[in-house]
Structure formats: C-alpha cells, structure tokens
C-alpha cells in the first residue's frame, strides 16, 4: 500500500503542477513553449520510482513530470518557469530545459531524438568505470522516426550500454498521428530488431509501468544490455499552449480520459483507500504548489550583467 500511495502522490503532484502551469500561462506569468504531461503521469512516476539516486535521467521538452518524479524540487522547477535565478536552470532553460546535477537529471532536450546519443554516452562512462548504473532516457514515438533513434539503438545494443529507453508513445508527434508517421506499427518490434530487449506496456497503468521498469532495470544492472519500453500513453491536453487540436477528435480524448492513470490507481486502492486520504494528498500537494508559486513570484531575476555567464566554464582546470 505504501508503494501505491507513493505512486499516487507523485502522479497527483505532477497533474496539479501541470494544471497550475496552464493557469499561470493563461495569466502570462509563464511564457515560451509549455508542453504539459497531463495524462502521461504514470510513465514518469512508474519508471523513475525504480531508479537509484546514482542512476541518470535524460528527458525531452515535455520534462516537468520527469523532473518532479526524479526529485528536482518543485520550487526550483516553478521558478524556472518564471525565468528566475532560483530556477533549476537559473532561468536560462525554461519549461523545456530543466536540469539538476544533484539529481543526475541531465535535462530536457528539445531536439527530438537529441537526448538519445547523450544517454548512450552517459551509460558508456558508467560501463568504462564499472559502475552498475542505469540511464533512463525518455523520448516520444516521434523520435523513433529520427535517425538518432536508429543510430543509438544500434550503438547501445552493440556495446551493451546500460540504457533504459523509455518511448512514451502518446500517439501523436505534435499533431501527426502515429499511423501517418510510421510505416510499421510495432515500436517494440522495431527496437528488438536492433538486438535489445523491448516490449510494450500499458502506460496508463502505473503499476504495470513500475513492474516493467523493475524487470528492465534489474536486467540492465545485471549486465543484460539495454532495454526499450514502449509506454502506450496519451496526452489529454494540447501539444503546447498554441495547439488548437485540429488533428484529433474530442471523442478520442474522452475515451482516453476514461483510462486516467490516477483514477485507475485509486480504483485499485479501494476500498481501503478513502476519500479522506485522497483529500489529504490533494491538500498536501496544493500547499507544495502554492509555496512553489509564491516563492517563484518573489524570487530574483538573474542580473542582466550575468547574461554571458556559463557560455564557458568559470573554473579553470
């Protein structure tokens, strides 16, 4: 039950954080691109719950859920949305580029597929030092059409690099439906053709995600080489705040909302789990988000005189 509660709390944190971000975007306190993770929470919560602190995470431009699940403090994530110096990237990254070295969170990469080679290299370093670490690399099914997907799966399988490839298949590459982008439908089959273990998972079922992530990370840590999970999920909201959603039917969204990963986990936890307990989680999360917004609002901006800091390192060798 403790495990279920932790997963539920994490998904609720992400969901409510995203909803607050949408409000803050509407009131123009957050700008730039904002890609929300609503509907996909089971993937981040389930996978990241199986990682150790010394493992590494590589994410995409839809990175809030991964960062929060990884333990990047919500205050720092929200401050980054506000472009403040207290943000986890000192206001230089914004929504798409959350980073946190202390949590080995190697950032949201907004070039589709661009994080995969980096993940391979992080894993190569682990191999060369003999460290039994896993690199979890998140990307969408759109990235499976990029050359880097194919290059990196081949390289990772060839060198048996300890990478857990997490393909979040939310069925749309921005607005392009899966069937309009991929000639062959089975991503796990495609991945396995490169010589790595790969299978599909119901990405709306956090317990299934966690169980698959556990099996995969155990295998990887035991020296079994990389794995790929195709996590079948769905984004309930628009691709970004600019997306009028012309490419999908409302009925389809409604159908997927019936598979809401939070509701499904709550169902599993009934009847022992009560409304009061759920209310307590919601209240706790609400306090955390309020605090994050309040501190972000009052935080300082990076002085413009520091604009060109960090283009090159400040520490000499």
């Amino acid at each position: 039950m403790k495990e279920h509660l932790d997963l539920l709390r994490e998904m609720v944190r992400i969901r409510r954080f995203e909803e607050r971000c949408a409000e803050l975007y509407s009131s123009a306190q957050i700008r730039g691109f904002l890609h929300l993770y609503v509907g996909e929470e089971a993937v981040a919560a389930g996978v990241v719950s199986e990682l150790d602190p010394q493992d590494a995470v590589v994410s995409t431009y839809r990175d809030h859920g991964h960062a929060l699940a990884r333990g990047v403090p919500m205050d720092a994530v929200m401050a980054e949305m506000f472009g403040k110096v207290t943000g986890c990237s000192r206001g230089r990254g914004g929504s798409m580029h959350l980073f946190d070295a202390s949590h080995r969170f190697f950032g949201g990469n907004a070039i589709v597929g661009g994080g995969l080679p980096v993940a391979a290299g992080l894993a190569l370093a682990h191999v060369m030092r003999g460290e039994p670490r896993v690199v979890a690399c998140f990307f969408g099914e759109g990235a499976a059409a990029e050359g880097e997907f194919h290059e990196v799966l081949n390289l990772a399988a060839l060198w048996r690099l300890p990478v857990l490839f997490c393909c979040e298949n939310n069925m749309y590459a921005m607005g392009t439906a899966f069937a309009k982008e991929h000639a062959a439908g089975d991503l796990a089959l495609r991945a396995s053709s490169y010589g790595l273990a790969a299978w599909s998972v119901d990405g709306m079922d956090v317990l299934a995600v966690k169980e698959s992530a556990r099996r995969a990370t155990e295998s990887i840590r035991a020296g079994g080489g990389p794995c790929l999970l195709e996590l079948r999920t769905y984004r309930f909201r628009a691709h970004s705040m600019y997306d009028p959603e012309r490419y999908r039917e409302k009925a389809e969204v409604t159908q997927w909302r019936h598979l809401d990963p939070i509701d499904r986990l709550v169902e599993v936890m009934r009847p022992e789990f009560t409304d009061d307990e759920l209310g307590a989680i919601e209240a706790e999360v609400s306090v955390e988000i309020d605090h994050a917004v309040a501190t972000a609002e009052t935080a300082d901006l990076e002085p413009v005189t520091d604009l060109t800091r960090f283009v090159t390192s400040e520490v000499s060798p």
């Binding site: 980073f99 990469n109 070039i111 995969l116 993940a119 992080l122 060369m128 990196v152 390289l155 390192s313």
Partner: protein, 325 residues
C-alpha cells in the same frame, strides 16, 4: 627528433591516454584500420579496444556519446573523419556540446574534444574537401583550434582535454605528411594566443591551418620583391586572439586575410570586421581577403588548385595592398 604532423598527433593522443585514465579515443576506423589518416595507427594494440573504440558509421550517435561520456566524468577524444561528415553530428555539437552548460545555468560542462580533418588539396572532391571550421567558430561555447605546425599538432591536445568545455580540433589534410624537427621534450602549448610565424614590417598576412605554409611561401616571394611581410597564424579560431593581429596591423598598416573557407559570411569576414572596428584609421589600404572560390571544391587537379588560395594569389593580394595594385 625528426617527426611528422601525423606522428605528432599520435604522440599527443598516446601521451594523454597515459596521463589520464578518463581519456579514450572513439570514431570511425580509429582502431583496427588505424585511422582514416593513420593518426591512431598502433594505438589499439597499445591501449586495447575499451579505450580505442571503433564506432559504427553513426556520426550523431558517437559524437553525442562523446558528449554524454564527457558530461559523466570521462575525457573523450572523438575523431570524425572529415568536417563534411561532421554535419551529420552538427545537432549534437551545437545543440548539446556548445549549449548545455549555459542552458543548465552552469551545471553541466562538456569537456569533450572532437578532432576532424578539414580542407582541400588532395583531389577528394566536394564532399571531403571543405573548410567549415569558420562555421564552428561562429558558435559560442566552443573552442576551435587549427594546429598548423608540428609543435601545435603535438601540444594542443592536452590543454584541449584540460579545458572544461568542448574543443574542436581541425587538422588540415595537407598537413599530415608535414615533416620536420620537433624537440624531444615538446609538450603542451598555449591555446590563447595567435603566433607570429614570420616577423615583418610592410604588411600583415593573417592565416591559419593548411594555408599557413602557402602564406609563408608567399612571404618568401614577397621578400624577393622587397616586401617584408609579417605572417600571423591564428592557431585558435575561437575565441580569436584579436590583440595579436591588431597589434601587427597597427605596425604594418596593411592586412591580407588568407582563409581556405568561402569568402561570404566567413572567418575572414570576421577578421576583416575586427580590423575595421578596431584599427580602421591605422590602415593605409583596404583589407584584402584571399579565400576559396565560391564553388563546391571540384575533383580535377587544375580546377581544385584554381579554387584554393595559392602562394601566387596571396602574394598578389599583398602587393596590391602595399603598392596599390
């Protein structure tokens, strides 16, 4: 000792591998084949396949893997066969290597070294012959080196590996067989300063990499005409050591920039602009540029030679600025 540019590069890699366990070399055919230009010949036998890693033909994957390994505590040397092929990894070099430190607010330096061949002169045609180092020199966050001498071939790698940020090293393909004397104790060199390769008083010839030898030849021709040319080797293309060439131009009052890249939007344009911004009133003649013709570099020998800066065209440009054409 007598050595070659190729051997000096190899000795630099060997030295770095011996000094630091975190250093390894990876790229296409660096191991069993010995390197496309035989730079790493014998290193596989010496250091083994873990540290001399042959990669698949996947430039983006292995350059990105170098970046990832660098982010995670290693000191990779990534070899890309030619600058033309590096375009397949441009996303990784620009969007990750050059960007992550700043975009992460200073959390993630990327101490990777990426070596590649550049330049024309061996009749390899348009997809193996271009000089695109000027493009890379456009990018904040990168250090861009162009060793033109045995000393720099031997001495630039170690300080590049010590740099906490990404360094690109461009080796002109015409230089690999360059031979000469190198001190037995030759070691690391300063990466921050351009070098005066030939002192002179009448005109400053500013160049780098594969054009240095041609420019020195042109300077000899000019000397026979009574023109005393100073030749500056930029060595580091980013960040530029403008002080050295500006100081020279203020003395000679004349400047010719020699750059094997194309003229439009080029490194030569940047240097000319710096001179215009900082020393315009010191000039006795307009700055001239000798660059490659604006064509894809052709195969046929006579066409390739006509496309590239040559001692004669460099000397002609220098005479023009000294004597008014």
């Amino acid at each position: 000792m007598k050595t070659t540019y190729r051997e000096a590069l190899r000795e630099a890699i060997r030295d770095a591998m011996n000094r630091d366990d975190r250093v390894f070399l990876m790229g296409e055919d660096v191991g069993s084949y010995g390197g496309c230009y035989a730079v790493s010949l014998g290193l596989l036998e010496e250091f083994g396949p873990e540290r001399i890693r042959d990669t698949p033909l996947s430039e983006s994957a292995f350059v990105g893997a170098g970046i990832g390994a660098a982010l995670n505590g290693m000191r990779p040397i990534v070899e890309v066969m030619t600058v033309n092929f590096s375009l397949l990894a441009l996303d990784q070099i620009l969007n990750n290597a050059a960007t992550l430190l700043h975009m992460s607010g200073g959390q993630f330096p990327v101490p990777v070294v990426i070596r590649m061949t550049t330049g024309a002169g061996r009749q390899l045609a348009a997809q193996h012959s271009h000089s695109l180092e000027g493009w890379y020199a456009h990018i904040p966050g990168l250090r861009v080196l162009a060793p033109a001498t045995l000393e720099d071939a031997r001495g630039m790698l170690w300080p590049a590996l010590c740099d906490p940020d990404p360094v690109l090293i461009f080796e002109h393909n015409a230089l690999y067989n360059l031979s000469g004397e190198l001190a037995d104790d030759a070691g690391p060199v300063d990466l921050t300063r351009a070098a005066v390769r030939r002192p002179g008083t009448d005109v400053t010839l500013i160049t780098y990499g594969g054009s240095l030898a041609k420019t020195l030849t042109a300077a000899d021709e000019l000397a026979a005409d009574g023109i005393d040319a100073e030749v500056i080797d930029l060595r580091t293309l980013r960040p530029l050591d403008a002080d050295t060439f500006l100081e020279s131009v203020r003395r000679t009052h004349r400047a010719v920039v020699v750059d094997e890249g194309w003229r439009s939007g080029s490194l030569s344009a940047e240097i000319a602009a710096r001179i215009a911004e900082e020393a315009l009133y010191e000039l006795d003649a307009p700055v001239r540029r000798v660059c490659s013709a604006e064509v894809p570099i052709p195969y046929a020998k006579h066409l390739e030679e006509a496309a590239l800066p040559q001692p004669a065209s460099i000397a002609a440009a220098a005479r023009e600025v000294v004597r008014g054409g």
